[in-house]
Symmetry: C2
Subunit: 113 residues, 2 copies
């Protein structure tokens, strides 16, 4: 009943392999976190916790160019983390749902421990 460990692995080894989520799911998960892994974007999301805000003001608060904010908002929009509405010339951005709060809050706990 002995096994050569360099070719056949323990049951635990095989078990882990099975229980690992699909490649695609793990990829998507990493992609999601990648979005939160940038200071500008985290700040944007954090500001939007308080409510909607227009691009101009977001740029001012963050002390970055309007263009930079717009580019980042595009990424957040693409990940369906924020939504927007247009009112005349200005566009107001807001959190898409409460998922963002949960995820950020979850990370915050780890930081401020």
């Amino acid at each position: 009943m002995e096994q050569k460990m360099d070719t056949v692995h323990s049951d635990a080894f095989a078990s882990v392999k099975e229980q690992l989520p699909d490649e695609e799911v793990l990829y998507d998960l990493a992609e999601l976190y990648k979005i939160f892994g940038d200071t500008t974007r985290v700040k944007l999301l954090y500001i939007l916790f308080e409510g909607e805000m227009c691009v101009q003001h977001l740029a001012e608060l963050l002390q970055v160019s309007q263009s930079a904010v717009s580019h980042q908002l595009r990424i957040l929009k693409g990940a369906r983390l924020v939504k927007y509405r247009r009112d005349g010339k200005t566009v107001y951005y807001a959190l898409a749902d409460d998922h963002v709060r949960e995820i950020i809050g979850c990370g915050m706990e780890h930081i401020t421990e």
Copy 2:
């Protein structure tokens, strides 16, 4: 009581500015998420959900080189997300605490909705 909007902002604007966490905290938060924003690292953490495992087996499961795994484990170790113990020649890695499970679980919810 009127205000020029291009120089003085609404109360809401000022309020947000105050309630925004410190620059450093937001930076650390982004740094934390950055770590989860890589497929190899997410896979590593996910595998370690099941329990400790040595570098060699981690590399095999992930189908990446021993060196690549080692480099990534170093990053995870630096962020105090994993711990390790040495037993002879082999080194076993494990999750540092349950924070990782929570954070990953939180992201998983958003993915699988």
